[in-house]
């Protein structure tokens, strides 16, 4: 059964962004599906979230001063990003930053300077220049978050966070076989660009020797202080004395004097007899798994790989073109994206759970926008602790291969953590950064319906606000029964708020809200 127009637009908004509040769907419907897709893709025409002055100030602290506020810095950074996701006018940009954080997984546990992880996040937004260590909005030439993947590999590899995290700063010229540290060269192939095997042909993409040769080309890359007097080293630096100038033998080609040779080979690499590139397929697979559904069919992966390869004359290696193919109706990939199989078939990550919850509960119908996260430290502590329990601490993925997505997010611990987080955030006073329930009740028109015992209507309104699909008959009955069930010792005036709060809590804890 094909999705109807409302579901298509709501599905697009939830996947390319974080939520589909009925008002957002209405606005998008008036604009039309095609125009909405282009608005999402060409996000540069909408304002970006502003940088946090406190984060910027932390970049210039002495290392001793910074170390005294390390934990606080992580809290501020986490709050800034979650708030950005919850309030942005560029939802697809934030989704892609989240995608790159998961794919190019880097953790503060491997960084001496935690500030570097903030700069990497800005790098993933296109706002960082690894050669100067400067933040510019945007940094000229930076291809993130949706530009040229060939250049992304360069910006990723030169980012000091990555040079620390995977030890490439220690990689120096050794011999004609290998550099002194092959860690980064390995992950560059295995995790960041193509994977061990071609995701369609299931043949090995490269040999151990390709890794070793690539490590030669990545030698001489260091991290140095930006300038004398700065303790915080955040600049990529090339040391010719430590560099192996080649030529290298890599993926069947011989030549090169530096890593450009390696990056060029990687993005163009095709296995014998294969029409599509290995990287195009890998990224097609990863992107469709992230936005569509898990384990996409080979035809979908190949169609996306063709776009990456520029098979139809388009600019090659362009991520935005791949996203356009996923979201614009009228091709085999988007047909799958808007199919029944994709609908409600993504398990929300803890980040998506928290962001969608905060977006929907703080959605202000008068401005048409969510308020997002408060600056309350009580609320932030609650959110950070809950996300750890849910299994996703931003900026601290479990290892370089990132988080295991999908059903792996749902465990007994995380079910309880999601349930309790929803309860706690709804129980928090507005002054402590809690939800303005009174406004939500007023804007949703729930007060009158409750007082007149029109419980079914209350359930329907909130389900439309929070759930991706209307409640089943059984779920509707269970929720109505909950609204009817008496609470001892609660005044009639408090009863409406208490029951609405409880109903929202139940809806946020139900299986339906875990999916998008």
């Amino acid at each position: 059964m094909p999705l109807d127009e409302y579901d298509k637009i709501a599905h697009l908004l939830r996947r390319a962004g974080f939520t589909a509040h009925p008002d957002e769907v209405e606005t998008a419907t008036a604009r039309g599906l095609q125009a909405t897709v282009e608005d999402l893709l060409n996000f540069e025409k909408f304002p970006d979230v502003p940088p946090d002055p406190e984060l910027l100030a932390a970049l210039d602290l002495s290392q001793d001063d910074f170390n005294r506020m390390r934990g606080d810095f992580l809290t501020k950074l986490t709050r800034w990003w979650l708030h950005a996701m919850a309030t942005t006018a560029r939802p697809l940009q934030e989704k892609m930053v989240l995608f790159w954080h998961g794919l190019f997984a880097t953790s503060i546990t491997g960084l001496e300077f935690w500030q570097q992880i903030y700069l990497q996040n800005e790098n993933f937004r296109g706002n960082f220049d690894p050669d100067t260590g400067r933040l510019l909005r945007p940094a000229p030439g930076n291809p993130f978050p949706v530009g040229n993947f060939r250049r992304m590999l360069e910006y990723l590899s030169k980012d000091p966070a990555m040079l620390y995290w995977l030890d490439n700063q220690f990689n120096v010229k050794k011999n004609s076989e290998v550099g002194s540290n092959e860690n980064y060269a390995r992950e560059l192939h295995e995790l960041f660009s193509m994977g061990v095997e071609d995701v369609v042909a299931r043949v090995p993409n490269y040999t151990e020797r390709d890794i070793r040769q690539a490590s030669r080309a990545l030698t001489g890359w260091r991290v140095l202080p930006r300038a004398v007097g700065f303790t915080f080293p955040r600049v990529f630096s090339f040391d010719a004395q430590r560099h192996d100038f080649g030529p290298y033998e890599h993926l069947g080609k011989r030549g090169g004097t530096n890593a450009d040779f390696i990056f060029d080979n990687i993005v163009r690499h095709r296995n014998p007899g294969q029409k599509q590139s290995a990287v195009g397929r890998f990224l097609g697979y990863r992107l469709f798994t992230f936005f569509g559904y898990e384990d996409p069919e080979p035809e979908i992966i190949n169609a996306l790989a063709d776009v990456f390869d520029g098979a139809h004359g388009e600019e090659p290696f362009n991520i935005r073109n791949m996203l356009r193919t996923i979201f614009t109706p009228g091709n085999i990939v988007s047909e799958a994206f808007y199919s029944e199989r994709a609908f409600r078939a993504r398990v929300k990550s803890p980040t998506e759970y928290v962001v969608s919850l905060m977006r929907l509960l703080t959605f202000d119908r008068t401005t048409g926008r969510p308020d997002g996260l408060s600056r309350s430290s009580t609320a932030m502590r609650l959110i950070q602790n809950a996300m750890i329990q849910m299994g996703q601490q931003l900026f601290a993925p479990p290892d370089v291969s990132g988080w295991r997505e999908g059903l792996a997010w749902i465990t007994t611990t995380s079910v309880l953590a999601r349930f309790n987080f929803a309860n706690d955030v709804l129980s928090l006073g507005v002054a402590q950064g809690g939800i303005d329930l009174a406004r939500l009740i007023a804007q949703a028109g729930l007060q009158e319906a409750m007082q007149q015992n029109r419980y079914g209507e209350v359930v329907d309104i909130l389900a439309r606000w929070l759930w991706p699909a209307p409640p089943s008959t059984e779920a509707r009955e269970a929720l109505i029964a909950y609204l009817q069930a008496p609470i001892p010792n609660v005044s009639p005036s408090a009863l409406v708020t208490t029951k609405i709060r409880g109903l929202i809590h139940l809806m946020l804890a139900a299986p339906d809200f875990q999916l998008c």
Binding site: N385, S401, L407, T411, V415, N423, A475
Partner: protein
């Protein structure tokens, strides 16, 4: 009873009694009766009733100041390399000689552990580590967690054991971590879900206000009881939610069966003692839990380590001793084996800040009534030629013991399973468990 049937059981027979208005106590009794009937059956069918408690000493314990050489070259070199940190000889608690004839003793803070040692309940495994030691906390911990020196595995060694031994098992509390909200990699499995519980008392569904709790839980169950087989993901999520509900009920009703004893006082200022008290509560509830995991942090003693390290060892031994006494009281000591581990030992030379830096091998303790007490292996040699050049920590030499030997021994002789699949090979077994 396999997973589906248990869930069917909870879903249909137990919980359909939860019509609106049923009182909470009656409701809890229903669930308890339901889970007990299932679980007692499962426990009786099980070939082994043995329980493992893993105690992680997080940060890299200074093994050289834990088990201290008192004679031979090791003793003189120890005092030479550690001018401020060496424990005065008269304070060391002698425990006996190792295979090479070196007299060894415990750090004075391990006095309660010394008493257990004297009763024959402690095996001290010396010089435990692995070849090509990694001195990064995270990398080395991952190696210990996964038993994979390549660091490629994403499941833990005990997670693998759970998957293999209990693949069709039926108990959401087969293993429990009490080491904070994050599940230790050791217990990460492909199939078996292990709850990570920061505090048993908090392992509950929180709702506001209390008077509405019962209403809300009934609605929550109703939402998760609704089958929609055509929507596979939703179906799996709701089944895990029911598992969660069941594990909370089992735990919360179970721990009430634990009664405290005035003679057994867990020091509430000692976090490890608090965690082990909760372990005792879970074991007393007899919920079929096979593995419990606790952790004590702070062993990364780079500076002024004497006092903090003594405090940590004191907490460790105090907690273990009171927990052991409690197990004896509960009649469970025969079924419980404790294993300590730390990601690495520390360097032989103290650094310039009266601390020690990341090193290699260290001692491991096995504790329990069925442990063969004594010293296993030899104290690491501190001679210059036996240290890693330029690094100053003991080489992983022929006299050292691979940590996977400890694991293999536990898997083979405690859990009575084949260890090779889990550890990726056969490792020498240690003579530390009494049959």
């Amino acid at each position: 009873m396999n997973k589906t049937t248990r869930r069917e059981f909870i879903k249909k027979s137990g919980l359909t009694l939860l019509s609106v208005g049923l009182g909470q106590q009656a409701f809890l009794r229903q669930v308890r009766a339901a889970s007990e009937s299932v679980l007692t059956q499962a426990a009786a069918l099980s070939p082994v009733d043995r329980i493992l408690i893993v105690i992680q000493m997080d940060g890299g314990n200074d093994g050289l100041n834990t088990v201290i050489p008192l004679t031979g070259s090791a003793a003189s070199l120890y005092r030479q390399y550690r001018p401020t940190l060496a424990i005065p000889e008269e304070n060391v608690l002698p425990i006996g000689t190792d295979a090479a004839g070196t007299l060894l003793g415990f750090h004075p803070s391990l006095s309660p552990l010394k008493d257990l040692y004297a009763q024959g309940h402690v095996a001290v495994i010396q010089s435990v580590g692995y070849p090509n030691p990694n001195r990064s906390h995270f990398a080395s911990q991952d190696i210990w967690h996964t038993a994979d020196p390549q660091g490629m595995k994403r499941t833990g060694w005990l997670g693998d054991y759970l998957d293999i031994a209990f693949s069709s098992a039926d108990n959401p509390l087969l293993a429990v971590s009490l080491a904070g909200g994050r599940l230790p990699l050791t217990l990460r499995a492909e199939q078996v879900l292990v709850p990570a519980i920061s505090n048993v008392a908090n392992y509950q569904f929180r709702t506001q206000p209390p008077g509405d709790h019962e209403n809300k839980m009934q609605a929550f169950l109703a939402l998760n009881r609704e089958a929609a087989p055509e929507h596979v993901l939703r179906e799996q999520i709701r089944l895990i939610a029911l598992d969660t509900y069941e594990s909370v009920q089992m735990l919360q009703s179970g721990i009430r069966r634990y009664t405290s004893d005035p003679a057994i006082t867990y020091n509430q200022q000692n976090p490890l003692a608090r965690a082990l008290q909760q372990v005792a509560q879970i074991l007393a509830a007899d919920l079929g839990t096979r593995i419990l995991y606790v952790s004590i942090g702070g062993f990364d003693t780079h500076q002024s380590q004497a006092t903090p390290h003594a405090t940590l060892l004191s907490r460790l031994s105090e907690a273990v001793a009171i927990f052991y006494a409690d197990l004896v009281r509960l009649g469970l000591d025969d079924r419980v084996l404790m294993m300590t581990w730390s990601e690495f030992g520390r360097k032989v030379f103290e650094n310039g800040n009266q601390g020690t830096d990341h090193g290699t091998v260290g001692p491991q303790f096995l504790i329990g009534t069925r442990v063969k007490g004594g010293i296993v292996g030899e104290h690491p040699s501190l001679r210059a030629e036996d240290l890693n050049p330029g690094l100053g920590d003991p080489k992983f030499s022929a006299r050292a013991i691979d940590f996977r030997s400890t694991y293999a021994t536990i898997l083979e002789q405690w859990f009575l399973v084949d260890s090779r699949e889990i550890l990726g090979g056969a490792f020498e077994l240690l003579d530390v468990i009494r049959a």
